[in-house]
């Protein structure tokens, strides 16, 4: 009896040790995986130093806004422009304001802010260090899921975030290495990983997949524009790429793409996004000026208006999560700016 008890104890201990080992391995793997994830926000307290003459400079509109006799001049990244323009137009109509809105990129928005030729800038990424110019204050409207798309004929419909990173690192080479939801392997095709490595100086966005462009596989197919991304995925059965759902809809004429589940969650699942069970997202921000010669009260009004209207967007279709909801879910804000993920976030 004693012998049996003694033997069982040893067995029990061994099993316990094995389980601890497995958990540790998983944690290590998870940590390793997580370490690939780049920073999502920059330090809001840091400002990029600019010379004094620049600080004193007033906002001077460019020709077009000048001719429009605008009450408010805004430049927005094309992504956020598509989503927020109707709200801005409504604001202008409701308040009888002439609002000049220019479409561009984050870089153009940053550049125009740098030239002090606009009242507001719209960004699809969290501000980078160079974007935090003196007097510029950022207001996060909300986050939107970054969807990963494949060709509609690709039977693979779910990848884990770890698999996703491995795909982009070039460690998963063929689709057959990934199982479909029915358990069958994916098609025996070499994976054509497509990436648009925009806003390299800014955190978040693709840097949630892999921190730097160096992490990405040398076989990565880079595209420069959003329509090219959509077109490439829609026309290549072996391709995988990323974009927000609104852009997939905007550029649906380039082709049809199928969003993947990541860790079992669809990008349109805003609840999963809030809890970061869906771990990839973009941050929609608007900037305003604070200070003499640069402030525009209409901009502040618009920001408040925008925050409320953002709530009414079709959250479930496009995976929007408003600032309000983020706050409630424990995301970190400084003022109006989202500066951190919740502590309980599971990546």
């Amino acid at each position: 009896m004693e012998k049996i008890l003694k033997n069982n104890s040893v067995l029990f201990l061994l099993m316990l040790l094995f389980m601890v080992f497995l958990a540790s391995a998983a944690a290590i793997a998870h940590d390793a995986d997580n370490n690939l994830r780049g920073e999502t926000f920059t330090d809001p307290s840091k400002q990029f130093p600019m010379p004094g003459d620049w600080i004193d400079k007033r906002i001077v509109y460019e020709k077009e806004a000048e001719h429009a006799d605008a009450d408010l001049a805004i430049v927005m990244d094309q992504d956020i422009y598509y989503t927020l323009l109707p709200i801005i137009q409504k604001f202008g109509k409701d308040n009888n304001l002439k609002i000049f809105v220019k479409e561009g990129t984050c870089g153009i928005a940053a550049g125009m802010l740098g030239k002090k030729s606009v009242d507001m800038g719209g960004f699809c990424c969290p501000p980078g260090a160079e974007d935090r110019l003196p007097g510029v204050r950022f207001h996060t409207m909300g986050i939107v899921a970054t969807a990963f798309f494949v060709h509609p004929d690709n039977p693979v419909d779910n990848v884990s975030s770890s698999q996703l990173r491995d795909i982009y690192r070039g460690k998963i080479f063929r689709w057959s290495e990934i199982k479909t939801s029915s358990g069958a392997p994916g098609p025996d095709l070499a994976i054509k990983a497509i990436g648009r490595l925009h806003c390299q100086k800014r955190p978040g966005h693709w840097r949630q997949i892999l921190d730097t462009d160096k992490e990405f596989s040398p076989r990565l197919h880079e595209v420069g524009s959003i329509p090219d991304m959509i077109a490439q995925v829609a026309t290549s059965r072996d391709a995988i790429g990323w974009e927000v759902l609104t852009m997939a809809e905007k550029y649906r004429n380039m082709g049809t793409v199928k969003p993947l589940r990541i860790d079992g969650y669809l990008p349109s699942d805003s609840a999963a996004l809030v809890s970061l069970q869906y771990p990839f997202y973009r941050t929609y921000s608007l900037s305003t000026w604070v200070g003499k010669n640069v402030e525009n009260k209409h901009a502040d009004q618009l920001v408040e208006y925008m925050k409320k209207e953002f709530e009414k967007l079709n959250m479930d279709k496009f995976g929007f999560v408003s600032q309000n909801r983020l706050r409630k879910a424990g995301w970190k804000f400084k003022g109006d700016e989202l500066i951190g993920e919740p502590a309980s976030a599971k990546h």
Partner: protein
């Protein structure tokens, strides 16, 4: 408008259609051409756009990759040992502010051979850690823009580790920088490469392209080209909008990596020229084909239109002719112009006429219908028959005037009522009616007779029911016709009585047999119970009962016994009064009659009514028939009249039967007498001949032995004896011959008259030759006869013609025969004795002495002679024999003669046999004869 319409109507269809088609064709051509051109443009534009999209993507990718290589080039160059060593040796942090310029590739950069294959940059700057530009390689004649020589910290930071596009002095540049670090990672300097985004840059980025593959960079709110890879085609400064005319533009996109503040857009253009040329050639070919097809179609259409026009003209003419010839409508003249309009006009005209004609016809038809309805109504009302009509439920719908009289209801009372209601009220048994209706439903008619008593009078109504059917033969009602046939019934009754009596008279052999049947028949037909016949007693002028009949099982015994004992004198009682005045009499009730001696007996017998009528024969009343009924009956004058006629017939019957009995007796006596005569003739002739032969024989012996030996008187006496005996013998022979005509007559068979005549002539040969007689004959027929008697007949007639010739002329005799049914022959026969209508009329004509008319009949009697024996020989029985022969054959014989000129004896014979048989037989027999 009207004028235009008028003018157009004068133009024939074919040219009008052709012109119209041509105009439509031209318009359609124009529209089609425009649409096709537009469509082709769209197709080509779409194709171009698709191509452009693909090329634009491709171009962008190539551009992106090219731009990206700058960053990689900067990284590679900054990691080279040569630049690290140079930076470490020369770029201390606080060096002089003077920039060292290189126009040749400095040592800190790779060889130009490497740079050529790598990236083409305009400037390479070495910036010390203080942010000052210390060395500049200027690879192009144009100096770098001043902001580049004093890059701000922002610029330096923002261009670090990425390809950054920005505008420097209004010129777009691509900048990329990378820190130069030593082996320990200590920052020594920064390498910055700068290249102006100009035409060269685009050309290097995209390589050689055609006009279909043009990339431009456009900047500004009203985008203008700032650079293009084909500046010869798209020079700088050109408005992008203005390019749309010649180029398809797409792919306006931002430099999208986020590492650019340049509001420059990437524009892809593809020239429309090629597409336009292709478009034009396609259109040209298509227009040519369209033209050819249109021409052919137009020709075909012209042919068809001409063909149609021709047929329309023909149709117009046909309609005109139809209108004129069939409808008798004078159509308007066929004018020249649009054939369809002309046809339309003609047709409208004819339609109008037809409509008017139809209206007239409808009016006429309505009038006719109305007249017909009125006439029909009048017919029905005028009909001698009662007419009623019902629907299927037997509800009376029509009831004419005669029906009102017969049935005793007015139309107003009866119309709307059903037959059942009427039958119930009239207590009519509906069994027959139900049967009738059932038969009518089966498609048959039903007739029945209803007997009713009305006002004490029995009337008979004959009713016929038939179905009223529509044109689909479906039964929709019942039609009833009725008539009062009481009178007819009475007539029938009378006729029945008459017929019955006549039948009895016809089949009865004697009055005794007929009388009871007549009485019974009359009683049964008139429905009376007793009948009696009273006959005139020739011995005592009174009527006595001659016969009686009564219905069985009724007791008339006393009346009968009284009647048997009674005789009626003229005027007494019913029979007596009828006998007296010769007229029928009717007593409605004998028991109340003053002149009815048998009243008491009648009362006991229950007899009341009585009538009697005379039996007449040859005008005289020979009897009376009387009848009695047990009910009082009103006089029926028609019945009495009928019985008066019957009475005569009955009387005649009685008389005739008596005569027939006498005749039968006479006929049997006559026959017996003829037989006795024939026997006598036969026996007598034989018995007479024997002694005559003895006398004649011995007389001849005496003449032979003693002629000349005795005196002349003895000779004369002997001669007289011989002659007398001979004449007696001849007479007897002739008498025998005469009797033998019937007694020894042979059965009739086809006998050739020619042959018979020839035989007769042979027998008369000597007489003919001696008299030099010329005898001719027509072809004679074959008749059904006794040939030997024919020979005898011809022999007697021809013999007489020869014998009774004129002294101054030889006899000319001609025998002929003609058919009796020849109207000319038949009408010439004047002999009333000739009765046969079919047969032959023979004639034997001579030129002899003739016969006086008063002797025409006498000569045919036996032993009748018109001349002395000394003048002409013969016994005078020849013509009697001829007559008997002819009469035996069913013919007759007569003579026509004129004294001194000649005679013609005619005789007729029975039906002939066919001419050809006669002819053949004649020919054969003639041949045989020859």
């Amino acid at each position: 408008m009207r004028m235009t319409s008028k003018i157009l109507s004068r133009i024939p269809l074919a040219p009008k259609l052709l012109i119209f088609t041509f105009l439509v064709g031209v318009v359609a051509w124009g529209v089609l051409d425009y649409a096709q051109t537009k469509k082709l443009h769209q197709i080509f534009d779409t194709s171009l756009a698709r191509r452009l999209t693909v090329r634009a993507q491709d171009s962008r990718m190539r551009f992106d990759n090219y731009v990206g290589t700058y960053q990689q080039a900067t990284k590679l160059i900054s990691s080279q040992k040569s630049i690290i060593d140079h930076a470490a040796a020369n770029l201390e942090a606080h060096g002089s502010g003077r920039i060292k310029w290189h126009t040749e590739v400095p040592s800190w950069l790779p060889d130009s051979s490497v740079l050529r294959k790598f990236v083409h940059f305009h400037y390479a700057l070495l910036i010390d850690t203080g942010g000052r530009v210390r060395e500049v390689y200027q690879g192009v004649p144009k100096p770098p823009p001043p902001p580049l020589l004093r890059p701000s910290a922002l610029l330096r930071q923002i261009s670090d580790d990425q390809s950054y596009m920005t505008s420097l002095g209004g010129v777009p540049y691509l900048l990329t920088s990378e820190p130069i670090s030593d082996g320990a990672g200590r920052a020594l300097a920064t390498l910055m490469l700068a290249v102006e985004l100009d035409d060269d840059f685009l050309m290097y980025a995209l390589g050689l392209t055609t006009e279909e593959d043009i990339i431009a960079l456009a900047a500004g709110d009203e985008p203008r080209v700032v650079a293009s890879n084909r500046p010869d085609l798209i020079p700088d400064g050109v408005l992008v909008e203005s390019l749309k005319k010649d180029y398809l533009i797409t792919g306006k996109s931002f430099f999208d990596w986020g590492g650019s503040d340049l509001t420059v857009q990437f524009v892809s253009c593809i020239s429309r020229a090629g597409a336009e040329r292709l478009n034009a050639s396609v259109l040209s070919a298509e227009r040519l084909q369209r033209g050819i097809v249109s021409f052919i179609l137009l020709l075909a259409f012209a042919a068809i239109v001409l063909w149609i026009s021709m047929h329309i003209r023909r149709l117009t003419i046909s309609i005109t002719n139809f209108s004129q010839n069939i409808l008798n409508i004078k159509p308007p003249e066929i004018r020249k112009g649009d054939e369809l309009l002309v046809l339309e006009a003609q047709f409208e005209n004819i339609v109008m006429e037809i409509i008017q004609a139809r209206e007239r016809l409808e009016k006429q038809a309505a009038e006719l219908l109305r007249e017909k309805t009125v006439y029909l109504d009048n017919i029905l009302h005028s009909s001698p028959l009662a007419i009623a009509a019902t629907d299927l439920d037997l509800r009376v719908k029509y009831f004419n005037t005669v029906a009102e009289k017969i049935f005793g209801y007015t139309a107003r009372e009866i119309i709307g009522k059903t037959a059942d209601e009427i039958h119930v009220s009239e207590k009519i048994d509906t069994t027959a009616v139900d049967q009738a209706l059932e038969l009518v439903r089966l498609g048959r008619d039903f007739h029945y007779v209803v007997e009713q008593t009305r006002d004490g009078r029995r009337i008979f109504i004959e009713i016929g029911i038939t179905g009223i059917r529509d044109k689909n033969n479906a039964l929709i009602g019942y039609f009833l016709m009725a008539q009062d046939i009481t009178e007819r019934k009475e007539v029938e009754r009378r006729l029945a009585v008459q017929y019955a009596v006549i039948e009895i008279l016809a089949k009865s052999a004697s009055p005794a047999e007929a009388t009871p049947e007549i009485l019974q028949s009359i009683c049964e037909h008139v429905g009376w119970e007793m009948g009696e016949v009273w006959l005139v007693d020739a011995g005592s002028p009174a009527l006595r009962l001659g016969g009686l009949w009564h219905v069985p099982f009724l007791n008339f015994r006393e009346f009968i016994e009284f009647s048997r004992k009674t005789v009626f004198e003229r005027g007494v009682g019913l029979p007596g009064r009828v006998w007296a005045n010769g007229r029928p009499a009717w007593i409605s009730d004998v028991t109340a009659d003053q002149n009815f001696p048998r009243t008491a007996a009648a009362v006991k017998a229950g007899l009341h009514a009585g009538f009697a009528f005379p039996i007449r024969s040859e005008g005289a009343v020979t009897g009376v028939m009387a009848f009695f009924s047990r009910s009082v009956q009103t006089p029926d004058d028609d019945l009495l009249k009928m019985f008066v006629a019957l009475g005569s017939q009955i009387g005649d019957f009685f008389t005739r039967k008596k005569g027939e009995e006498a005749q039968v007796h006479y006929s049997s006596e006559l026959e017996r007498s003829n037989k006795e005569l024939q026997m006598f003739a036969s026996i007598a002739s034989h018995d007479l001949q024997e002694p005559l032969r003895v006398v004649s024989g011995f007389a001849q012996l005496l003449e032979q032995r003693y002629k000349g030996k005795l005196d002349k008187s003895a000779d004369d006496f002997i001669g007289y004896m011989v002659d007398g005996a001979e004449r007696m013998q001849q007479l007897i022979r002739d008498l025998l011959d005469y009797s033998r005509v019937t007694t020894r007559g042979k059965p009739f068979q086809p006998a050739n008259c020619d042959i018979a005549m020839q035989k007769a002539l042979m027998n008369l040969k000597t007489a003919v030759e001696e008299s030099n007689a010329v005898i001719t004959a027509d072809p004679l027929p074959v008749v059904k006869a006794d040939e030997s008697q024919l020979v005898h007949l011809f022999q007697n007639l021809i013999g007489n013609a020869v014998k009774y010739r004129r002294k101054d002329e030889p006899p000319r005799i001609h025998i002929s025969a003609k058919q009796l049914d020849d109207p000319a022959v038949h009408s010439a026969i004047q002999n009333p004795q000739s009765t046969i209508k079919k047969g032959w009329l023979f004639s034997v004509q001579d030129n002899g002495i003739g016969i006086e008319p008063q002797y025409f009949d006498r000569i045919f009697q036996v032993f009748q002679r018109l001349h002395k024996r000394e003048e002409y020989t013969g016994t005078g029985i020849g013509l009697a024999i001829c007559k008997k022969i002819v009469e035996r054959h069913g013919g007759s014989i007569w003579v026509k003669s004129e004294p001194g000129k000649g005679s013609t004896f005619f005789f007729t014979m029975p039906e002939p046999i066919a001419e050809n048989i006669r002819s053949e037989r004649t020919v054969e027999e003639e041949k045989g004869a020859l």
